[in-house]
């Protein structure tokens, strides 16, 4: 099976482990993620101003290109997912804007491309995953961190319940690990503030990690490159600001998937984690 | 008839609760406006049947002005909505009947808007003057 794939900018740079482990694990499932022949930056933030049509052009071009290659597009980055899916949502109603944009572009988009997050794909194809598990994750206690952009606004994204989602926990359970529920799993990690107010991002992520560990998590799992950066790379600063801070490794969901499906360690990208997850994996005989 | 000294004959269908009261207020405030509009008082603008409007045009009215309450203020809940719909439909038909639709005007004037009433009478009279008589020089 071949499915069109849109990596987005960070997947080749800071979020390379997500890209590599995702490709590798999907390959184990017999799914080839076909990167789009032409793709562009999605714009990274969705415009709140309805008459700002310029910022819709990027998503439309991407989706129009994707249409040529298939009717489903896998988008792993939460920010890209949010942007593309919301573009679809408003253009379904606002045919006037769609016409204007189509007029300006070479491509023509008909708002029929489905934007799919890899986790949604996995949960829909449970049996396929189950049949291919080589290493059960042996009850490892994982806090599932959703962040904001996958869940909100609920009506436009329809990803899961925004207050108490469970799709991620279902995936983790499928892989044999034990999901640990912690109340702050849908709260913000600090997001862009890491650029101009890094202390705020450090505080926000610190609270999340502390809450997850406090509820019994041995590691955190996330899907968003920005969240992963804040939660992982800022741990050194968290230690400086809070002496009682205990490190907690942060996985991309695809890294765990890869391990469970028996992918070679090279392709899982564990070296790039600032806080190495190798210890916790060794503890559970997964390395 | 000469357009220069053409004095339009305009019928004003006014609802008693709002527009007619606004006319009263204009009078109490001693506003001045042209005398071309003869007011006819209804309990509610929704009593006005398109046939009355057409009757007016048929019998020489150069213009018909309808005055009712603002949406939400109708003394009888939603009479003005009905009037709005009827006049909208009638406007569409007037061209087919050979009548310039500008000759029929619908205004929402509340009992406090004596000033507005005056203005509307002035404006509408001027407009009908420009349009000319309904017969003779064409519609």
């Amino acid at each position: 099976m071949k499915i069109p794939y849109y990596p987005g900018c960070t997947l080749y740079t800071k979020a390379k482990p997500l890209n590599d482990s995702l490709h590798a694990s999907f390959r184990q499932l017999g799914v080839e993620l076909n990167e789009l022949a032409h793709w562009y930056c999605c714009g990274t933030t969705f415009t709140l101003a309805r008459d700002n049509r310029m910022s819709l052009i990027a998503p439309v071009r991407i989706l129009a290109k994707a249409q040529e290659e298939g009717d489903q597009l896998i988008v792993p980055c939460s920010v890209c997912y949010n942007t593309l899916k919301r573009a679809n949502y408003i253009l379904k109603e606002d045919t006037e804007t769609l016409d204007i944009i189509n007029e300006h572009l070479e491509e023509s988009y008909n708002v029929k491309e489905e934007v799919v997050h890899p986790i949604e794909f996995l949960v829909k194809n449970e049996q396929l995953v189950k049949d291919n598990i080589k290493k059960n994750l042996a009850g490892m206690k994982l806090g599932c961190y959703y962040g904001c952009l996958l869940l909100r606004p609920q009506e436009e994204l329809q990803f899961d319940d925004p207050e108490s989602p469970s799709i991620f926990e279902n995936l983790v359970r499928l892989l044999g690990a034990t999901p640990v529920d912690f109340p702050l799993k849908v709260e913000c990690c600090g997001s862009y503030l890491v650029v101009n107010s890094p202390d705020a991002a450090v505080e926000a992520s610190y609270k999340l990690l502390r809450n997850a560990r406090g509820n019994g998590a041995e590691a955190l799992v996330t899907s968003c490159p920005l969240c992963h950066y804040n939660l992982d790379a800022l741990q050194a600063k968290m230690k400086q600001a809070h002496s009682d801070f205990q490190e907690l490794p942060v996985f991309y969901f695809s890294q765990l998937l890869a391990i469970a499906l028996g992918v070679e360690e090279n392709y899982v990208g564990l070296e790039q984690n600032k806080v190495s997850p190798k210890t916790v994996l060794k503890e559970h005989n997964l390395l | 008839m000469n357009k220069e000294n053409f004095e339009p004959k305009i019928i004003g269908f006014f609802c008693k609760w709002c527009t007619s009261a606004a006319a009263d207020l204009a009078g109490t405030s001693r506003k001045k406006y042209p005398p071309n509009v003869v007011p006819i008082r209804f309990f509610c603008s929704s009593r006005i049947d398109p046939q009355h409007i057409l009757h007016a045009f048929e019998h020489g009215a150069d213009g018909v002005l309808i005055g009712g309450c603002h949406f939400g203020d109708c003394h009888y809940q939603d009479g003005n909505y009905k009037t709005a719909r009827r006049v909208a439909l009638l406007h569409n038909l007037l061209n087919d009947l050979g009548i310039d639709k500008r000759r029929l005007r619908l205004e929402w004037i509340s009992a406090a808007e004596g000033e507005k009433f005056t203005k509307v009478i002035q404006e509408f009279t001027d407009e009908i003057k420009k349009l000319g008589p309904i017969r003779g020089n064409g519609a």
């Binding site: 109340p183 | 009263d24 209804f42």
Partner: protein, 1104 residues
């Protein structure tokens, strides 16, 4: 042609300055239809009016036009003048030549010309004016107030005090609404009950008020002055005339359920009084119908009832209740196939309640005093002493009939004794039940075979009625070769021999053919007799009809089961040596709904056996009955499905004889049914069967129930199961109590009748029905009140998942001296006193995107009150309030708020985004907008100031009344500023929170306002309405009903018989919408008909 009089007023110089009144008068005099015209300085003055009245007489005028100022000023004046002059007031019209003419134009000739046009158009109108009479409506001097909260109470008292009879309807058992739930009210901190109870008592004792609580308005017809209402008075199942509120019943009721008055902070009994000061002070039973378990039981055994009694430790009463519908409590407690458990709602949560085993527990732990009774009534004969026959005997003997049971065998009990092995059903258990039945005076003659020792016709002569219950125990043949070889046994025969302790010798290898209970029993017996046993069944496990728990026990005991196998022949010389079998596969379903077994060709195999026991099925033996008794094609007896009478008069039948092999409980049910029929027949009364209606919790309610394991029946260790000792050992007291506690009390009241036993005035009436009461009333006041917005919708606040997050109403109950904690503020989770309480204002309100857009008005004040009262109770407590604004717009409110802040409450301006639990503490995550920081507060308790909504269910009620509500379902007032207590429907008034959020002083004011409006109507014999309404010319009306939809007042209705539209004149407000909508001109507004309008237009357009 009319004689019109036109009177032109100078109005001093107001008109005369710019209008030439003299010239005008002359012109008008000449106008067709004008009989007289004159002018005068001040027409409205006394002399002016006299001019008119004189002129009417002198010139024989029949219509009047007064050309003067605006009709808004003097229309009424001149109409009165006209009436004084002897004419109908509605033939008088005014022409406004002042505001519309003289005051707005300068040039005299222009103004005079216009004035002439105006007057002429009015003259044209008046030519067609008809004399009209005001519409008179008789008024029924009675009012209906809907809703018994403070609004309804106040309105009712005001109306009643004005001398008008009032009916006050309230849907709960007591009046009081939400106000009676409050502890103290702001800003005075008056005790709510103290100020309200005197009013409530006043209502109850007022001789002009009829108080109908636990009632709802079901239907309303008619219009102002003459409404006809139907009120449903729900059954409290207690006669309130007799109940004296003593509360003895409350003590003994074994069922608890959520207490709605305490906002689910505590429980109440199924029989209850909402609160101690309830008015009326009577008890009510919450009963939802009958629980599914009872309905599933063929005999209608009150399972919920006896389980509730077991839970309450009342074993004796439980046993007595069990035996009311089924004398075989001991037997069924062990071997019933319990259809009740299949329908048990607990099964939707985790596992069904072990109803049958609990029945057994009551038998083993409930005492019973044997009393030998001697019936004296008519004689009835029963044939067969199995469960069917003995049950029938029992039910009849209870009704004092003398019953004799004829049993062919030497022992009593039928299949119970002969067919069921003792390790499932010990002899003693059977004896216990049979002794119980015999104590009612039932005679049993054993060893008497009817048809042999005595004939049926003899019995028919000797006895008033006969009940046949001879069962079905004739074995069906397998029809295979070798069936008659020695060693091939038939199941029932085999079991009977074993049970009668006759010698049966079995070889080492035994196969049992069949899949029903008999097969499994036979297999387990054969095992105990020392053989290796294999059951061969032709379908799969899923289709096996035997009780699955019996199959489990069989497997536990080492019995093998081979599925999809059937025997084809028994092979051997004289004795069986082998069985040839063939494998089966499942095909399409057969007539029983189970998949048909199809032999797989070429799959035959043989098995060496010493015995083969056939347990396929049984059928009744009916050869001893005459041909008068009709049989079905399966050989069972035909009976009337309702009466159980056979085709022979006076002979009834039931049990396996009629149904084929079935269950014990079905036989008991048949015995019960037949007994009822026989009794009714003999007494000559109408046969009445008890009717059931299912009552159970909604699936939504089940979500919050915690899963619990079903109690495991302790069983004899497998190693000990060699003999016939009972395998199942029965529950101990602790297990039974825990298991009984899992029951969900589906119907709430279970009709266990404990209340009946202690009620001295004999007020309990379980068979009570709802009553429909009808009244004529002249006006209504709707005061249906409010509810709080569902807190579960605010998921981020954790209500329902965090136990110490409560609503404001719940907090009121915690503060109340009569509440669940006697006024001490305690955490619901552990009962400790919270040291820090966080109050969240605007929970659900002022939230346009997700919840209620509006402000609920009362929350700022009551939250301030809550904080203050909490501080008073817990001196070292720390109240913190998160707010957006603090709205204190009332008398004394701002001062109260200042007091609250002075006395130690912290206000933080910002919304709360999340409430969660961390390390046992509740964390409230919010914002402090005044300092620009995020705040996190650890709290012991969180109180949500919930927004308010109109009472749930009231939208439906409002539709019935045909009054409007707005987008938020608050009742709509006729005008938001000037008519706040009137609805759009004449005669229906609004009071209280039903019309919009408001606090108690506003509610009371509004209630009195609504009452005064109602009184204005009700204290008059007749009320009048302006007659300038729209009528219907029935000759022109085609019944198209366009006008009906156009009318905002529902004043028009299509009469389907006459196919014309009829108008309720008192409802028509005279807008004229219908008149312009009517395509045929049938609808016309009086004195503003189409021709009048056209004439007015035409004359206004005429040139001089």
């Amino acid at each position: 042609m009319k004689n019109i009089g036109v009177f032109i007023c100078h109005c001093g110089i107001n008109i005369a300055k710019t209008v030439d009144v003299e010239a005008l008068t002359e012109e008008i005099k000449k106008y067709p239809g004008v009989a007289h015209a004159e002018n005068y300085k001040y027409m409205c003055s006394d002399p002016g009016q006299n001019i008119i009245t004189e002129a009417i007489k002198k010139h024989k005028l029949d219509a009047i036009v007064v050309s003067a100022c605006s009709p808004t000023l003097h229309e009424n004046t001149f109409r009165n003048t006209t009436a004084r002059g002897g004419l109908n007031r509605y033939v008088c019209e005014m022409a406004n030549i002042r505001e519309h003419c003289s005051w707005v134009h300068d040039e005299k000739d222009i103004a005079t010309k216009k004035a002439a046009k105006i007057i002429k158009s009015i003259i044209e109108k008046v030519k067609y004016d008809e004399p009209l009479d005001p519409i008179l409506v008789n008024v029924t001097k009675r009012s209906l107030v809907v809703g018994g909260g403070i609004a309804g109470i106040q309105a009712a008292l005001d109306i009643a005090n004005a001398g008008v009879e009032t009916i006050l309807v309230e849907k709960s058992p007591s009046i009081g609404g939400h106000m009676i739930q409050l502890s103290e009210t702001f800003p005075t901190l008056d005790c709510s009950q103290c100020i309200m109870t005197p009013k409530m008592v006043e209502v109850a004792q007022h001789d002009k008020i009829t108080l109908l609580t636990y009632s709802e308005v079901e239907e309303i017809a008619g219009s102002v002055g003459n409404f006809h209402v139907k009120i449903r008075q729900k059954s409290p199942y207690i006669d309130w005339e007799k109940c004296n509120g003593c509360g003895e019943c409350d003590q003994v009721c074994p069922v608890t359920t959520n207490d709605e008055f305490e906002c689910n902070l505590s429980d109440r009994k199924a029989i209850y009084r909402p609160f101690p000061q309830a008015v009326p002070n009577r008890y009510t039973i919450s009963k939802k119908g009958h629980p599914p378990c009872r309905i599933a039981c063929p005999a209608g055994v009150n399972a919920q009832g006896y389980i509730a009694l077991i839970r309450a430790g009342k074993y004796k009463e439980a046993l007595a209740l069990e035996r009311e519908a089924n004398p075989f409590a001991s037997v069924c407690g062990r071997v019933c196939n319990h259809p009740c458990e299949s329908d048990c709602v607990r099964g939707e949560v985790d596992q069904p309640v072990a109803i049958a085993s609990l029945k057994r527990f009551a038998v083993e732990n409930g005492s019973y005093e044997f009393e030998q009774k001697k019936p004296t009534g008519e004689k009835i004969a029963v044939i067969g002493s199995g469960p069917g026959g003995l049950s029938c005997a029992y039910f009849l003997a209870k009704q004092n009939y003398q019953v004799t049971v004829y049993e062919a065998e030497k022992i009593v009990g039928g299949m119970l004794v002969l067919g069921i092995p003792e390790f499932r059903l010990p002899r003693d258990s059977i004896k216990q039940d049979i002794d119980f039945i015999k104590s009612f005076g039932v005679q049993i003659k054993t060893g008497v075979k009817v048809g042999e020792h005595v004939s049926l016709s003899e019995l028919q002569k000797e006895y008033r009625a006969v009940f046949l219950a001879t069962g079905a125990y004739e074995e069906m043949k397998l029809n295979v070769e070798g069936e008659n070889l020695e060693g091939v046994l038939h199941c029932i025969d085999f079991l009977k021999k074993v049970n009668l302790s006759e010698k049966v010798s079995l070889g080492k290898n035994v196969v049992v053919i069949g899949g029903g209970n008999a097969a499994v029993d036979a297999a387990r017996v054969a095992k105990r007799e020392g053989s290796n046993v294999t059951i061969l069944y032709r379908r799969s496990r899923r289709e096996m009809p035997a009780n699955s728990w019996e199959v489990d026990e069989a497997i536990e005991e080492g019995i093998k089961i081979e599925f999809l196998v059937a025997p084809t022949k028994a092979i051997g010389k004289d004795k069986i040596e082998k069985v040839e079998c063939i494998r089966m596969e499942l095909g399409e379903p057969d007539s029983s709904g189970r998949r048909r077994p199809i032999p797989v060709k070429g799959s035959e195999f043989t098995v060496p056996v010493d015995n083969m026991i056939l347990a396929i099925s049984q059928r009744p033996k009916t050869d001893w009955l005459s041909s008068e008794f009709e049989r079905t094609k399966w050989g069972t007896l035909v009976v009337d499905a309702d009466t159980l009478e056979t085709t022979v008069k006076g002979v009834y039948a039931g049990g396996d004889l009629v149904s084929g092999p079935a269950t014990i409980i079905e036989a008991v049910a048949a015995g019960q049914k037949a007994a009822e029929t026989i009794d009714a027949k003999i007494r000559g009364i109408k046969l009445e069967r008890k009717e059931y209606a299912t009552g159970r919790p909604d699936p939504e309610e089940l979500k919050s129930i915690q899963k619990r394991q079903r109690a495991q029946m302790p069983t004899l260790d497998v190693s000990k199961r060699k003999g016939y000792d009972e395998v199942e050992l029965g529950f101990d007291k602790e297990s039974a109590a825990k298991e009984a506690d899992r029951c969900l009390n589906c119907a709430i009241c279970c009709e266990c009748q404990q209340c009946e036993e202690v009620c001295e005035p004999d007020a309990i009436a379980h068979d009570m029905n709802d009553k429909i009461l009808e009244y004529d009333v002249g006006a209504l006041v709707v005061a249906t009140g409010f509810d709080i917005y569902e807190p579960e919708r605010l998921k981020e606040y954790g209500y329902g998942t965090i136990p110490d997050v409560v609503t404001s109403l719940q907090f009121e109950r915690l503060l109340s001296a009569s509440g669940p904690t006697a006024g001490d503020v305690k955490r619901p989770s552990d009962g400790t006193v919270p040291k820090r309480v966080v109050f969240i204002q605007c929970a659900g309100s002022r939230d346009k995107e997700n919840h209620l857009e509006y402000c609920s008005k009362i929350c700022c004040m009551y939250t301030a009150k809550h904080a203050l009262l909490y501080k008073h109770r817990v001196h070292e407590g720390e109240p913190i309030i998160f707010y957006i604004d603090v709205r204190t717009a009332g008398k004394g409110y701002e001062e109260f708020y200042n007091r609250v802040t002075d006395e130690g409450t912290t206000y933080i301006r910002g919304k709360v985004s999340k409430v969660y639990q961390d390390n046992g503490k509740i964390v409230v995550m919010g914002a402090d907008t005044l300092s620009g920081k995020q705040v996190e507060v650890e709290a012991d308790m969180v109180v949500l100031a919930m927004g308010i909504v109109p009472t749930r269910g009231s939208e439906e009620f409002v539709r019935r009344l045909k009054i409007q509500c707005d987008a938020n379902e608050w009742l709509t007032e006729a005008h938001p500023k000037l008519r706040p207590v009137e609805s759009n429907t004449a005669g229906i008034f609004l009071a209280g929170a039903a019309q919009g959020p408001k606090d108690i002083p506003e509610v009371v004011s509004q209630a009195s306002g609504a009452a005064s409006k109602a009184i204005a109507i009700l204290t008059q014999k007749e009320i009048t309405f302006e007659p300038t309404i729209a009528g219907v010319n029935e000759d022109l009306c085609s019944g198209c009903s366009i006008c009906v939809g156009v009318c905002p007042y529902n004043a028009r209705e299509l009469d389907k018989e006459e196919m014309v539209v009829k108008v309720t004149e008192s409802l028509c407000q005279g807008c004229g919408s219908c008149s312009s909508a009517c395509p045929s001109g049938a609808a016309q507004q009086r004195n503003l008909i189409d021709i009048q309008i056209e004439k007015m237009v035409t004359s206004a357009l005429e040139e001089k």
